[in-house]
Amino acid sequence: MGSTSSTLLKIPNAEVLMQETGFSPAHIIRLHDRFKALDKEGRGYLCPQDFGAIKELAMNPIGDRIIGAFFSPGKETVDFSTFVKILAHFRPVDKDRPKEPNSPEPINSRSNKLKFAFQLYDQDKDGKISRDELLKVLRAMLGMQVTEEQLESIADRTIQEADLDRDEAISFEEFRKSLEKVNIDHKMSIRFLR
């Protein structure tokens, strides 16, 4: 459509983005509109407050963590291409993509989705989910009726189940292995980002 292509031109790096993420032009445009709507002052980038303005996120127990995931370590702003790339993690997996051995894994592959989830737990980015980090996540997701002791117990058991090399922490491989049976493609995909 004529209007699509002209709007697309206004978006910086649209072509590159579409290539990397696999989004269609319509999606890029929609996401760009959303980006502009969130960026109320029109600065071209987003800061944590802009995310904080989304009221529903305050009612999500791990909302603040997810906001944090958008910001690379050390950076305070999110520009449009980072925004799109992170959201690309949630695209449904393309089942009929030809498997080219040399091309890099698409952002929405199962493995990358898992990596994204792993990063949410692993706040200090040491490649392992320590007991404390797990405790923090559990605390956020469980109601206030659960006591500290119960919480610690759950955390201990959880680590026990997943920890194969007995180092009291869950590495990415262990994490991946423990979620073998879970249909990640289904659980970490948003339909309307297809």
Binding site: K55, N60, I62
Partner: protein
């Protein structure tokens, strides 16, 4: 218990059996005694102390008895459903009860004296059901799917009507049905009345089958909006039948099409007019709060009748009246009135629905109306079923090209199977003119059979069908703890990302409309006080404050005295100053309650006292938990119970029999409270060590836009945005500024424009939530509650006393604020 069932049954049977011979006996003796005066005149031999006069009360008595019996029937049905297998939907069971009752009446009377008369149905039983449905309609969901709903309602119904009518006619011409005195037009008329999906039946059956909310709103919305089409088609074909075949030409047909536009849009417009009227009314009813609840019902009913009078679509009128007025009415009316309306609506709607189904059953037991024509009836059933399926799949295929979230296969199956016909079809059939349509009884019988088939049979098989279709996909195996935790985490992640992406329907139109609505329509239709109160987040704070106040007092009473209420001076976040003038008048409750506690300014820290007491409390409660070893079962059980549910798991909020705050809302509030607190903490930790500004800017009483805590405008963004449905007023977040940024950056140059003048490092040490909570570990709940009680309560509630009462600015503020509660307190 089984005994109660038998008791109910006995009572019902007894009543009906008792009443009927009585009626019969008395109606047979009409000549004897007519009324009291007459009696007194005729047969008086002495002074009658007590007389028995049936006819004096006959009509209202019968009505009330039937309402009573219907209520008992419902009770019976619910009891049965609890003890017998929960297989047959309530509506089906009610119809069967109706059969029984009808049988009893017929047995007594040899004629069906109590039928479902169309005027009774259309004037007294239907309007409140529609009003209830529209009043509780989830508006956002409805409007975001409005396009699809309209497509299904208009084209789906037309498709159903035409195909069923034409196919039946074709079969008739082919001679399958034998000899009937019917023409093409009458077939089309029949098609139009049998085509419409019935809202009453849909609610009744779908409520027991928990489908996802989009699917529900599609079917439900369709059932409501197709009335526009049904009414038009029915009237058009009725008129055509009266006119006769030859007189129908292009002019008439185009008039028919035009009448659709007029009827549908006219009805909706009329509904909107009445909604505006209602909102304006409730805006002015501050002084007659005791009866303002009644206005909803009166005006709703007026909308229905007016539309009917003007031959517009009455159901559409009531629907739009309810949909449009809900927001303003709920905002304007007193809380008690809102509760009254909700409860009364449910009572009326439930009662009417029960009566409709019972009478649908009773009406069946009547030898006069039954005409059996195998071909006609079976073919009708077949066509109705098949064309519904074809229609749904066809339309969905077309719609999926345009929808953002396509409608899945299983949803389509449920939708086509959920095309239930109900009492509306019966009512329309009963209104047919016998002279113009000689085969009226055949049509009536067929309609009844279709209704019973869909409600009972399809109702019974709906749940198993849904379960079967879904179970086919998912393999059920026992999940490990880590899988469960992660599953839930993924749900939350998805919900969050969906919110970040803006979900479906968040586009320029929605935002534009919301802005328009906030600025102009709300200004017109909402009370000014209610407008300020629109901030969702503020209302949560309000609720939490009230909760805390209650907890606080009950805890204090348990301690024996309220002497330890006196708190220290660390009132850093002076809630009152931030929300101050705008909100003191809407929080009179807190103002009044707290006035009993003369909160002096004392310097000793109570937190130590609290900390001493709480641990013992927690020890008592949780002592045994520490002793028990936590084994696998417990852990799983805990997770099951206490994991916060994500948006996916929240049930759709529309329900005929349940409403109000459910578990998910409490959870949401809890989550929200924690998030806000953690944000506040991170802000405060960032603030520590920054020298406080000495200036206190006067708090202006302006509209709630872009206001900082101390009148200091800040351009760095707001905590609570004006997302889709939150009001302009939402920008009065308690905490503004850059604290979020502080959470995510470490040591970057942080500017803190938000100024809390009271803050200085000495007071931080006494802030309970900033202190290290080590030593005794109270239960998490107590820990969280700690900051919310003595100190925090002062912070968040608009206390009349602020910490620095010697400050002249604050005193000045105080004066002003104190005036307001008196004048505005209701």
């Amino acid at each position: 218990m089984a005994s109660s069932i038998y008791f109910c049954l006995l009572r019902t049977v007894f009543l009906v059996c008792f009443v009927n011979p009585l009626i019969q006996g008395l109606s047979g003796d009409v000549n004897l005694v007519n009324d009291r005066r007459h009696q007194l005149g005729n047969n008086l031999t002495g002074l009658p102390i007590v007389t028995f006069d049936w006819h004096h009360v006959q009509t209202p008595y019968l009505v009330i008895i039937w309402v009573f019996v219907a209520g008992l029937a419902k009770l019976l049905v619910i009891e049965l459903n609890h003890h017998v297998i929960n297989v047959i939907p309530e509506s089906g069971l009610l119809i069967m009860m109706g059969f029984i009752l009808g049988g009893i009446v017929w047995g007594a009377d040899k004629a069906q004296t109590f039928k479902l008369f169309p005027p009774t149905f259309f004037f007294y039983l239907l309007p409140q059901i529609i009003l209830d449905a529209s009043y509780f309609m989830p508006n956002k969901l409805f409007f975001s799917n409005l396009g699809s709903i309209l497509i299904y309602a208009i084209f789906g119904t037309c498709w159903n009507a035409s195909t069923v009518g034409l196919s039946l006619w074709g079969c008739y011409e082919a001679g399958v049905m034998g000899n009937l005195d019917i023409g093409l037009l009458q077939f089309l008329l029949f098609g139009s009345l049998i085509a419409a999906v019935d809202p009453v039946a849909v609610i009744a059956v779908f409520e027991e089958v928990h489908v996802n909310e989009v699917l529900f709103i599609l079917v439900f919305g369709e059932s409501l909006l197709n009335d526009g089409v049904t009414v038009v088609l029915y009237n058009v074909f009725d008129a055509f039948v009266a006119l006769g075949g030859p007189r129908i030409d292009a002019v008439e047909i185009s008039k028919g099409i035009f009448s659709f536009v007029v009827v549908a849009f006219g009805g909706s417009f009329l509904g909107i007019v009445f909604a505006i009227l209602l909102s304006l009314l409730t805006r002015c009813t501050k002084h007659i709060q005791i009866i303002e609840a009644g206005f909803i019902f009166v005006v709703g009913y007026l909308a229905y009748l007016t539309a009917d009078m003007l031959s517009l679509s009455a159901i559409l009128s009531v629907t739009f009246c309810g949909i449009c007025c809900q927001k303003y009415v709920n905002a304007n009316m007193d809380e008690k009135s809102v509760t009254t309306v909700r409860h009364a609506m449910k009572v009326l709607a439930n009662g009417s629905e029960t009566m409709i189904f019972v009478f649908l059953g009773v009406t069946a037991i009547d030898t006069e109306i039954w005409v059996w024509n195998t071909g006609f009836i079976l073919l009708t059933l077949l066509f109705v079923f098949i064309y519904r399926i074809i229609g749904v799949f066809l339309l969905t295929w077309m719609l999926n090209k345009f929808r953002l979230v396509p409608i899945e296969f299983i949803d389509q199956v449920v939708m086509s199977y959920g095309g239930l016909r109900g009492a509306v079809a019966y009512g329309l059939a009963a209104m047919l003119d016998q002279d113009k349509i000689p085969e009226k009884n055949l049509i009536l019988s067929t309609t009844l059979i279709v209704v019973y088939f869909t409600v009972i049979l399809q109702g019974i098989t709906m749940k198993p069908l849904v379960q079967w279709l879904k179970v086919k996909r998912a393999a059920h195996s026992d999940l490990k703890l880590i899988e469960k935790v992660n599953n839930r985490a993924f749900d939350h992640i998805l919900a969050a990302v969906e919110d970040i992406c803006g979900r479906i329907g968040d586009n320029w139109w929605t935002r534009g409309w919301n802005r328009f609505e906030e600025n102009y329509i709300s200004w017109l239709l909402m009370k000014p006080k209610a407008r300020k109160n629109r901030d969702y987040l503020f209302s949560i704070f309000h609720k939490l404050n009230l909760e805390d106040a209650v907890n606080y007092v009950s805890e204090g009473e348990r301690q024996g005295s309220l002497a330890f209420i006196r708190s220290d001076e660390a009132a850093n976040v002076d809630f009152k100053k931030q929300f101050g003038s705008e909100f003191t008048d809407v929080m009179p409750d807190i103002m009044v309650d707290m006035s009993n506690y003369e909160l002096g300014i004392e310097t000793f820290s109570v937190t130590s006292i609290i900390k001493d007491t709480i641990p013992s409390v927690s020890l008592d409660i949780h002592g045994q938990d520490r002793k028990n070893a936590m084994d696998d079962v417990n852990a799983h059980h805990l997770l099951q119970q206490h994991l916060y549910s994500s948006r996916k798991h929240h049930r759709h909020k529309y329900s005929r029999s349940h409403f109000g705050i459910n578990q998910s809302e409490n959870e949401v509030q809890e989550i929200f409270q924690r998030t806000m607190r953690s944000r506040l903490e991170s802000f405060k930790t960032a603030k520590m060590g920054v020298s406080p500004a000495k200036k206190i800017t006067k708090h202006h009483k302006k509209e709630l836009t872009h206001k900082m805590a101390n009148g200091h405008p800040d351009g760095t963004g707001h905590l609570y945005g004006d997302e889709v449905d939150s009001a302009v007023g939402s920008e009065t977040g308690a905490i503004r500024g850059t604290f979020l940024r502080d959470t995510y950056t470490v040591g970057a140059g942080i500017e803190n424009p938000v100024v809390f003048p009271d803050m200085d490092s000495s007071t931080h040490n006494s802030l309970p939530w900033l202190m290290e909570t080590d030593a005794v570990a109270p239960s998490q709940r107590a820990q969280w509650h700690l900051p919310w009680t003595p100190n925090r309560l002062r912070r968040l509630a608009p206390m009349r006393i602020s910490t620095y009462s010697t400050d002249s600015f604050l005193m000045a503020d105080l004066e002003e604020h104190e005036e307001k509660p008196q004048t505005d307190h209701e």
